[in-house]
């Protein structure tokens, strides 16, 4: 065996080293310096991201290892770095929480579990063999259940963890059922072989069933409707830092992994099978997510449904099946990370300081805590897609790339999505209304947020404002995906 193949996995290896440092620090560092662990992890993660970016710009544009089981390219490096940036923000925002009363004994667990799930997501993105993919999927799901349960004093946290682990197991089972069908049809679990084999055979019931199972299995993780039922409870029950991690990083990684599966393994049955499945899923996801979000009064449940509908928009980048869509999707995830983390940062800060999470209690926030209210407003505008904030650009580009596919059906889909943006604008404005317009006296007193929370807010606000107006980000992503040999081979345009 050629051991130099492992060099292709440099990002994963870097993450493992980071994991080991955190592990040994947590296990052996004297108690006095234990409280520096959150900061240390954030700094190490930043170092890893910077190194990762250097690799991305200087490394090979495409590498494959282990007989094509593992693959990495500039595009894949890019999405990993995007996720890393999100993780850094989550780490910065959670410093206060991780040093709190509750976490004093289990600080290390949080960071280790988080890094393990990130490792799993890396594998999901890079896997080109379903076995490796399943390993990634499992290691990205199971530790998350433990993270959800970290808040041991709260009943909801336990409930959420049980719900999460049951759905995760169930969805894995469904997913593997689909895989077994596919193995039966094609005799291989390599994406490449599956593609070749499927291209040679006609459409069969087995094929459609297999595809449905695979989509359902991944759909659970992405919380696409009708597989979204766990989302709101888990988001509400989990500690806010975990919720924010769950809503952006986990979602972004799975979305990209789904793109890789659909395009590289099932690309040849695009128009026969999965275009229509995804079409229906997108409409359901966007619409139902939006309609349910309207009624939520708990901010975390509210953002849970909002993130359900956002997942629908992310899927628009896949359904077009072109490189432009892949780029727009990555860009959407990037922007979504900043917007959603800005919102969760504010929610977390308020929850840490006052314990309040209801939207009604946010009334008058603009008077008592103008900066928090402003950050929240920008986040809401960005999520709703209002220019000049980044959310507008990401929505515009994802619609543009979807329409690039050209059929009338896509126009109809985009129109439905656009009408849904109006519904979403309504409930995002409800938050703005509570903070800025409501005449009720302020419930939340003025408080000072911690340096970590403040830094997190500065980063996210800067991202929300700059990511859209500064065109190089999107231009670079689109050019890179356009030049990516693998994506190009399987895409329509």
């Amino acid at each position: 065996m050629d051991y130099s193949q492992f060099l292709a996995m440099k990002q994963e290896i870097g993450l493992l080293i980071l994991f080991l440092i955190v592990f040994f620090y947590d296990a052996f560092a004297p108690r006095k310096v234990q409280k520096y662990l959150p900061g240390l992890t954030a700094i190490l993660m930043t170092v890893l991201t910077v190194v990762g970016c250097v690799w991305m710009f200087t490394g090979e544009s495409f590498t494959s290892a282990f007989n094509g089981m593992y693959e990495t390219s500039t595009v894949i490096d890019a999405i990993k770095n995007i996720l890393n940036i999100g993780v850094i923000i989550v780490l910065i925002q959670s410093v206060k929480w991780a040093n709190g009363e509750l976490m004093i004994m289990r600080r290390g667990e949080f960071y280790m579990l988080l890094l393990v799930t990130l490792f799993g997501m890396y594998l999901m993105i890079s896997a080109r063999h379903f076995l490796l993919f399943v390993i990634g999927l499992e290691s990205a799901s199971l530790p998350l259940a433990a993270m959800v349960a970290l808040d041991k004093n709260r009943y909801e946290s336990h409930e959420a963890a049980v719900k999460y682990i049951l759905t995760a197991c169930f969805s894995s089972a469904v997913f593997m059922m689909g895989l077994s069908f596919i193995y039966g049809l094609t005799g291989s679990l390599y994406f490449e072989d599956i593609y070749m084999s499927l291209a040679g055979q006609g459409l069969s019931v087995m094929m459609v069933l297999a595809m449905a199972f695979v989509l359902a299995g991944v759909g659970f993780k992405l919380s696409l409707v009708p597989f979204h039922l766990w989302t709101a409870d888990v988001y509400q029950g989990a500690p806010t830092s975990v919720t924010s991690y769950l809503s952006v990083i986990s979602k972004g990684a799975t979305a990209f992994a789904l793109l890789c599966i659909l395009v590289q393994a099932f690309g040849c049955v695009y128009s026969q099978v999965w275009e229509w499945m995804l079409y229906a899923l997108i409409i359901l996801t966007i619409t139902i997510g939006n309609l349910f979000a309207i009624r939520q009064r708990n901010m975390k449940r509210f953002l849970a449904f909002s993130s359900v509908s956002q997942a629908g928009y992310i899927m628009l980048g896949i359904i077009a099946c072109n490189t432009m869509g892949a780029a727009a999707m990555m860009y959407y995830i990037f922007v979504y990370i900043f917007s959603n983390l800005a919102a969760f940062g504010v929610i977390g800060a308020i929850e840490n300081a006052t314990g309040r999470v209801s939207m009604d209690e946010y009334s008058g926030l603009s008077k008592s805590n103008p900066r928090l209210a402003f950050t929240m407003m920008l986040a809401m505008f960005s999520l709703a897609g209002i220019p000049p904030f980044a959310g507008f650009f990401s929505k515009f580009f994802i619609f543009t790339s979807a329409i690039n596919q050209g059929s009338i059906a896509i126009y109809v889909l985009v129109l439905i999505a656009l009408i849904n943006t109006i519904i979403s604008l309504y409930y995002y404005l409800l938050v703005v209304k509570a903070m800025y317009i409501s005449d009720k006296p302020a419930v939340i007193d003025r408080f000072n947020s911690t340096p970590g929370e403040r830094l997190g807010m500065i980063i996210t606000v800067a991202g929300i404002i700059l990511l859209g107006l500064a065109s190089p980000v999107y231009n670079w992503l689109l050019e890179t995906t356009d030049m990516s040999p693998i994506l190009n081979m399987f895409m329509l345009q």
Binding site: T400, V414, L418, Y426, V432, I437, S471, N475, L478, E479
Partner: protein, 501 residues
């Protein structure tokens, strides 16, 4: 980038935003707002003079000062600017109304935040009028819409929560259709294999949008902009929105923002898709015809001053779209004149209503009367605004409506005739509601003894109203100047649809 004079229409408001952020007290805020809007007026006047000089010097391009800077290269999105006479007229109108609006909101509460949002709104407006790239145009369009929510929600009156939400959602709903239409235009903007473009001038030059697609994309864009132009049945945001908005916002919204709708309709929908416009104009002609008549009738039965003017705006803005859809030089020129006239006149109306409301604390005409004796200056201004609105010669309304109807009568078929006559009849109804208000509000007995103690206009209120009245009279007295400024664009060579008709 900064050699082009047009870019300063965006730069100045941005500088104002920066300046406002640094302001410490209300005096500084007022200074920034006034200085900025004076600079904008100065810039647009200079642009007007320079533009006329260039045209006199023989420039025949459809747009002058054209420039474009690459933004999102893979999608060929530029920040592209360029103006013709119509855009210049609109820029001038906007800057005058921003100026008058700053004076009208001299004593607003929480001025810093108010002016920040107001200037952000006007950044969007100016950006929209200078853009010739569909993407940036759409972006500025939405930038102009969203501050309305907070401006009405926070500083508004009456049923403001409901109105603000309704207005925002309906306008954004329009822009959803618009976005789809614009993306559709982009993908058909060049012949097979050519470089797709968002640039309006290039799209017209390519003339590549297939006729089938035009008849799908034209309604999308027209309805998208039509919502903002208060086209029936999408006008319902307008009365509630205007009634709840604070004075300066009503002025800016009725005066400028609603013009974005009309401007977009001809600059994007009709200009880019002439064939569909020619075929489908009748559908929208029916709708806008209903707007004109229905708005006028609704205004007759309202008792709230702001509702009266909001419905009157529906009627007048309906007239703008109505005239644009006549698709000939005269009527379209009239449409632009009507935009200018209505913009100034409605701004004047809303300013006066705001001033009266600030004194009497009611807008119900049944509870007021005899204001002519109490506050003669405001009352006289109100009469002037009313006269402009019902089309008294010498003021702007007459010129605009006259041109529109002359243009409309050039169509000799039954269909156009019927609608033209119906629209003409709306003028009479306008006279009814204007005179009714003037009679009830300004003359007649004083309804409330407390009103006798009220004072007349202050100097800043006088500045605001006098500026607008001068402009209204200027259009009324020198229509030919504006006519020549505008109708250059509406020639068959540039505006293809006019040749088709």
């Amino acid at each position: 980038m900064f050699e082009n004079p047009l870019i300063y229409f965006v730069v100045i408001p941005l500088l104002m935003l920066g300046g406002l952020a640094l302001c410490k007290n209300i005096k500084q805020i007022r200074a920034v707002a006034v200085a900025g809007s004076v600079a904008l007026i100065g810039l647009s006047v200079w642009l007007l003079v320079d533009y006329l000089a260039k045209r006199a010097g023989g420039a025949t391009d459809p747009m002058l000062y054209v420039d474009s800077w690459m933004w999102f290269e893979p999608l060929n999105i530029h920040l592209a600017v360029g103006v013709d006479g119509i855009s210049i007229a609109m820029l001038l109108l906007s800057s005058i109304i921003v100026f008058a609006g700053s004076f009208a909101s001299w004593q607003i509460s929480d001025p810093k935040a108010f002016f920040l949002w107001l200037i952000l709104l006007s950044t969007g407006v100016f950006g929209f009028f200078i853009s010739i790239d569909l993407f940036t145009m759409f972006m500025f369009y939405e930038v102009a819409l969203i501050p309305m929510y907070l401006l009405i929600g926070v500083w508004g009156s009456g049923n403001k929560n409901y109105s603000a939400m309704k207005l925002t959602l309906m306008l954004m709903g329009g822009s959803a259709f618009l976005m789809l239409g614009l993306i559709g235009i982009y993908y058909h903007s060049a012949p097979e294999g050519g470089q797709l473009t968002w640039n309006i001038l290039d799209i017209v030059k390519n003339d590549a949008i297939p006729h089938g697609w035009q008849s799908f994309l034209f309604p999308m864009t027209f309805v998208g902009f039509g919502v903002l132009g208060a086209m029936f049945p999408f006008h319902t945001w307008s009365p509630d929105g205007h009634a709840s908005a604070p004075t300066a916002v009503s002025m800016l919204h009725a005066g400028v923002l609603m013009k974005l709708g009309g401007y977009g309709c001809f600059r994007v929908a009709i200009y880019l898709m002439p064939y569909a416009a020619n075929e489908l104009a009748w559908i929208f002609l029916v709708l806008t015809g209903i707007s004109v008549v229905y708005g006028a009738f609704s205004a007759c039965v309202q008792t709230d001053l702001k509702y009266i003017n909001a419905y009157s705006s529906v009627s007048h803005c309906g007239m703008v779209l109505f005239a644009i859809l006549m698709l000939n030089t005269t009527a379209m020129t009239g449409a632009i004149m009507q935009m200018l006239s209505h913009g100034l006149m409605t701004a004047l109306f809303f300013a006066l209503i705001g001033m009266i409301y600030g004194r009497t604390h009611t807008r119900d005409i049944r509870l007021m009367g005899g204001l002519m004796k109490i506050m003669p200056f405001l009352a006289v201004c109100y009469v002037i605004a009313g006269m402009a609105s019902l089309g008294l010669p010498g003021l702007s309304g007459f010129v605009a409506e006259m041109t529109i109807f002359v243009g409309s009568f050039q169509h000799t078929d039954m269909f156009h005739r019927v609608f033209t006559i119906a629209a003409c009849a709306a003028i009479v109804i306008t006279a009814v509601y204007i005179l009714r208000v003037v009679g009830k509000l300004l003359f007649g007995p004083v309804q409330d003894k407390h009103h006798l103690e009220l004072t007349d206009a202050t100097w800043w209120e006088r500045t605001s109203t006098v500026t607008l009245i001068i402009c209204v009279a200027a259009i009324g007295c020198f229509p030919n100047f504006f006519n020549e400024l505008i109708n250059f664009t509406f020639s068959p060579e540039i505006f293809k649809v006019i040749g088709l008709n």
